[in-house]
């Protein structure tokens, strides 16, 4: 009996002494397994237009890490907070070529390229770094739900006419979702900023 306790203690001590490793980020979404590999959930191909009328697609984000969200410019509820918080992310990454931000409008009828352009300019952000994209409504809603795992629906009874998630989604260079954060909560956005660093170290190592 005593021996077991000693061994147990030794093991515990050995583990305790091991240097704490930075925890790797999880890979979110449904995994599928084929014969010898795990197939992870990835973001589907997409093609939207940004505030400069340029195409933004999976090629735009190829080999890059990006943070995605869903909003609309006339939103009176959570979007302004999301944009305030995303601006913090932007300030962290604006000089980093490996990171982009992709904000999808869920109200493409109102949020035309011109509206998005003005919005981005007034926010004072560069279109090279932070893409505000619009496209076909169905395509935007579909990619939100199936790829980014967030929801958005029209609801005329809601202020602004839409109900949607305030999530920020962290996507890695292989289009895998590595984190989902509440973009209306400063402490969750702090975590996103920290996780972004961990992810950048991971892909650069």
């Amino acid at each position: 009996m005593k021996k077991i306790i000693y061994v147990g203690l030794l093991v515990a001590v050995a583990f305790a002494c091991e240097k704490p490793k930075e925890k790797a980020l999880p890979i979110l979404g449904r995994h599928e397994y084929n014969e010898n590999d795990t197939v992870y959930h990835t973001i589907d191909d997409f093609k939207f237009v940004n505030q400069d009328s340029n195409w933004v697609s999976q090629q735009t984000v190829e080999g890059k890490v990006y943070v995605a969200d869903f909003f609309f410019t006339s939103c009176p509820t959570i979007c302004p907070i999301m944009k305030t918080q995303m601006l913090r992310v932007y300030e962290q990454i604006q000089d980093n070529d490996d990171v982009l931000i992709l904000s999808h409008t869920i109200d493409p009828k109102h949020d035309t390229v011109a509206v998005l352009k003005e919005f981005a300019e007034r926010l004072g952000v560069s279109s090279e770094k932070w893409h505000f994209v619009t496209g076909e409504k169905e395509a935007i809603y579909k990619i939100g739900q199936t790829s980014y795992m967030v929801s958005a629906v029209e609801d005329p009874t809601e202020p602004g006419g839409f109900i949607h998630s305030g999530a920020f989604i962290l996507v890695d260079d292989q289009r895998r979702v590595r984190g989902i954060y509440d973009g209306t909560k400063p402490d969750q956005v702090d975590r996103l900023i920290r996780d972004l660093d961990i992810l950048l170290k991971e892909i650069n190592s």
Partner: protein, 145 residues
């Protein structure tokens, strides 16, 4: 002589009582201001701070600041009306233009408008004093929509 003393006493008494009256008045006013500020802050955090931010500084060139806003002080009635009925079109605040539609909150009562107004007009260095419910009622009656 006696009459003079009596007169003096009366005058003194009145002067004193007058003064206490005033004190009580301003004390009441202060309590009311405090109440309005507390209620106003809660309403502000709920309805306004998303855009105008908790510190009243606004956001970039999208949402104008309320802190030190010349527009707010020069357009007192408009500012109160916009809370309930919204506002559209370009405005200039401290030399910067803003053109984001502000949605109104039609369900706000005159008292709530008064509380929010008192809060934003007396926070972050702004100073205008109490805006009571009567004042808000009067302004809201004349809003042009």
């Amino acid at each position: 002589m006696r009459v003079l003393v009596l007169l003096l006493t009366v005058i003194l008494f009145q002067a004193c009582s007058g003064k206490t009256d005033n004190n009580e008045g301003s004390h009441k006013e202060n309590v009311k201001l405090e109440q309005y500020m507390v209620e106003g802050q809660q309403l502000y955090m709920q309805h306004c701070s998303n855009c105008h931010q908790a510190d009243g500084a606004g956001l970039a060139q999208l949402f104008p600041p309320l802190k030190g806003s010349d527009y707010m002080f020069e357009n007192f009635e408009k500012a109160l009306c916009s809370m309930k009925y919204g506002q559209e079109g370009e405005i200039t605040v401290n030399g910067v233009t803003y053109n984001q539609k502000m949605p109104g909150i039609p369900t706000l009562t005159a008292l709530e408008v008064a509380e929010i107004s008192t809060y934003i007009y007396n926070s972050w260095g702004n100073e205008r004093g109490l805006i009571d419910v009567k004042k808000a009622e009067e302004v809201l009656k004349n809003c042009k929509n």
